[in-house]
């Protein structure tokens, strides 16, 4: 008799876990009790049909448990929850598994990072992916790891690329079918970016897609001379996926050197853009560039949300992205066709986006030796913090950063392993920054409501069928809002800036909301 391998290996309360399969992740919205992948669902809508906590009772929300990791550095993880067990990472190569009801630890893993490696991009980590009995994570020195979900034991360990060439990694991997899809950081250090797929079982690399084409390849002509070799194009945020089209949507970071365009004349494909890749082969299906020849570090790595909408009377499969360059974009996700761009924050770098989606540039918006003031600033009007979508309102909810910078430039020289900014950017501007939580109609780009924060935020959002939007601000407030009106219904000061997005799940019929803050993972529930 053949025994099913994983069935029944984990039980929480009366509930016993089934293995996480690709099909389960595809249908993750049918399991609102769980959070099976970084975005909660392949399309990154970050919406959960859970309404025990709703607009009328959210004011009673209180801390249920706190897990202290003791790890310093930004806590940017988004936990996974699988049938009562929570899995998450922290900075410095840590991963944990805890009982999702009590916060009691099941195991802890620490990546044994070799001594003396030079890290390009800090030790931040954004979370895990799961398939069967394996968890996957990346490391600051650009490795991909598989851990046994039951024990945290290391199963395999692959180097994506060398830290000697300044590669690093911070994202949460994405599992698609039998593959683990990952990307790299290092766009400030003259890397050549790529998206990689690894066989989940063996750890063998299945394919690689370079985000910067070589001379002679299609797109190679958009790079002056051999500048493509240090072209940047980091892939530092998790992509989204459409199972029907079998396409991956992956954001591509800035070209290098960041602020000095002279040495890399041309559009610099596919940087500051988005690529649609065949999930089985890594072959490019289409691409779109938000900011051709970017000189402000406006990565295209913001969440490419998958939406099915009625566009001009016709059902359209689209991607929605609030881009770092301060424009909200709608693209057809089958073809990459540009549908719409609307600015959602102050910007002075483009006079318009033309009918093809190409920006018409303003004067004096390039970095200069004396400095030019540009809005948005280097960190962008949006960044990696994920938005969410509520199908009942039909609105797109996201944090907006109102902040400008002065951009300087000077000719850089590439030295392997050193920052390749081109030269320096950003003094500081004399203006106060601020932030907004914004509800936007994705069909028109119009603002439905906004809520003003004192500072420009770094936390993402989550939507529930309880009519709520959860998010956080730079001062450490974790908050709940009425999705229809934008009214702030609940808040708690968590004592540290919030730099990731919340999740929600249930165990035994009780709804929980989790948000990392500082070095603590906070979980809330109704009394």
């Amino acid at each position: 008799m053949r025994l099913p391998v994983f069935v029944g290996w984990v039980c929480a309360g009366v509930l016993c876990a089934q293995p996480v399969t690709f099909e389960r992740i595809v249908n993750s919205k049918a399991e609102p009790q769980n959070w099976l992948t970084y975005w909660g669902d392949y399309g990154a809508q970050r919406y959960r049909d859970l309404k025990q906590i709703d607009t009328s009772n959210v004011k009673n929300l209180r801390v249920e448990w706190i897990f202290q990791t003791g790890q310093s550095g930004a806590f940017e993880t988004v936990p996974l929850v699988v049938d009562g067990i929570m899995y998450f990472t922290a900075a410095n190569g840590f991963a944990y598994s805890v009982d999702a009801r009590s916060g009691r630890q099941l195991w802890q893993f620490k990546y044994p990072m070799p001594d003396g490696v030079k890290l390009c991009c800090g030790t931040v980590n954004r979370g895990l992916a799961i398939l069967g009995d394996l968890l996957f994570m990346v490391t600051p020195d650009a490795h991909v790891l598989a851990l046994e979900a039951r024990t945290g034991r290391l199963v395999w360990n692959r180097e994506m690329a060398s830290t000697d060439q300044s590669y690093g990694a911070t994202l949460a991997p994405l599992v698609v079918k039998d593959k683990v899809i990952v990307g790299v950081s290092g766009g400030e250090f003259g890397i050549r970016g790529f998206v990689d797929a690894y066989n989940a079982k063996s750890g063998e690399r299945a394919w690689r897609f370079y985000t910067v084409p070589a001379k002679g390849e299609p797109g190679g002509e958009t790079w002056l001379a051999d500048s493509w070799k240090r072209g940047g194009g980091a892939t530092w945020m998790t992509g989204t996926y459409d199972p029907k089209l079998n396409l991956l949507y992956w954001g591509v970071g800035n070209p290098g050197p960041d602020l000095f365009g002279e040495v890399r004349k041309g559009d610099n494909l596919y940087t500051a853009g988005l690529v649609a890749l065949d999930a089985d082969t890594g072959k490019l299906k289409w691409h779109f560039q938000f900011t051709p020849h970017d000189t402000h570090d406006w990565d295209g790595c913001e969440t490419p949300m998958v939406l099915d909408i009625k566009w001009k009377g016709r059902d359209r499969k689209v991607l929605a992205q609030a881009n770092r360059n301060a424009f909200f974009y709608l693209l057809d996700r089958e073809t990459g066709e540009f549908l719409m761009a609307k600015s959602f924050a102050r910007q002075n770098w483009a006079t318009e986006i033309d009918a093809k989606g190409r920006p018409v540039l303003s004067r004096n918006a390039d970095p200069s030796p004396e400095g030019n003031r540009v809005c948005p600033g280097l960190a962008g009007a949006a960044n990696w913090m994920p938005p969410s979508y509520n199908p009942e309102t039909g609105w797109f909810y996201f944090p907006v950063r109102e902040q400008c910078d002065v951009f300087f430039s000077a000719p850089p020289v590439y030295v392997e392993g050193k920052a390749y900014w081109g030269s320096m950017f950003r003094g500081q501007t004399e203006e106060k920054e601020w932030g907004l939580l914004k509800a936007l109609d994705p069909l028109t780009g119009e603002t439905k409501w906004d809520f003003r924060y004192y500072k420009a935020p770094w936390a993402g959002t989550m939507a529930t069928s309880g009519g709520l939007i959860f998010s956080g601000d730079e001062d450490g407030y974790f908050m709940a809002f009425d999705a229809k009106t934008g009214k702030n219904l609940w808040k708690i000061n968590t004592g540290n800036r919030l730099v990731t997005a919340p999740i929600t799940y249930t165990v035994g019929g009780r709804q929980y909301v989790t948000m990392p803050s500082g070095s603590a993972l906070l979980t809330f529930a109704l009394p």
């Binding site: 020289v413 920052a419 030269s423 320096m424 501007t429």
Partner: protein
């Protein structure tokens, strides 16, 4: 005039420079990292003149390097600990070559004794503290002569709104009963605000208890724009002599990095 509130967004900017001379590299590093405080040509602003005034921390390469590396605790001069030795060297070389053309022996005109008398007559100590004497409402002036350029000190007296340092921004809150309270903002976030009113009381509010919060663009310091030219010169000359010790127990600001 930029009545603006100063915002520190210090970001250390590394530079894998550079084809050109190390003077150019030094200048580029200086413009983007230091000019914000020390001025485009290093002749001072919110930070001291580094070209033609005597340097209170010493003017040898070694002492300048020390200041750049570890900052000046208790002041806004941050530590650029992530600069490479080469980069620090380039900045110093740039600064030293600038000062060659104008020796660091700037002579401050005016009569500081008379300036001190004006300081007393105008009751500046009603808002400022020097060496433990006076009020804590406005910034401490114990070391102001070593920390700012002469031009900046003059502007601070005749048009204080031109540049308001962080921590001294004026705010007015309007309470539900219509009462208005003006003060200096100590802290603020999305939901609350804390301020010091002119009687030096600390006032704390939740924003939902208020009708509104207005951020003043005007300084809380009155403009002394009717002083005679000599009185102004003497007052500035007095302030320029204030070079008391820094509070070495205070924290050092660090020039931040970017991921």
């Amino acid at each position: 005039m930029g009545k603006t509130v100063r915002k520190l967004l210090l970001v250390f900017i590394p530079a894998a420079l550079c084809a050109q001379s190390s003077f150019d590299q030094g200048r580029a590093l200086f413009r983007s990292n230091c000019a914000f405080c020390h001025g485009m040509t290093a002749t001072g602003g919110r930070g001291p003149n580094l070209v033609s005034a005597p340097l209170s921390h010493g003017d040898t390469d070694v002492s300048i390097k020390r200041v750049i590396r570890i900052g000046v605790p208790g002041t806004t001069m941050p530590a650029f600990s992530e600069f490479t030795d080469e980069e620090v060297g380039q900045v110093i070389q740039y600064l030293q070559s600038l000062s060659k053309s104008s020796l660091r022996n700037e002579n401050v005109p005016g009569n500081p004794q008379h300036g001190q008398q004006i300081y007393g007559e105008k009751d500046c100590s009603g808002c400022h503290r020097i060496g433990g004497q006076g009020s804590i409402f406005g910034p401490e002036l114990t070391r102001i002569g070593g920390a700012r350029s002469i031009e900046y000190l003059r502007d601070s007296i005749i048009k204080p709104s031109a540049d308001v340092p962080e921590g001294y921004e004026g705010v007015t809150v309007v309470m539900k009963n219509g009462k208005r309270i003006r003060g200096l903002r100590i802290n603020e976030d999305t939901f609350s605000i804390q301020l010091r009113d002119p009687s030096q009381q600390i006032r704390m509010f939740q924003k939902d208890e208020l009708i509104g919060v207005t951020h003043e663009t005007e300084s809380m310091m009155p403009a002394y724009d009717r002083l005679s030219a000599t009185d102004l010169q003497d007052l500035v000359a007095y302030l320029a002599t204030l070079r008391g010790a820094v509070d070495s127990s205070a924290a050092v600001k660090k020039a931040g990095g970017i991921k």
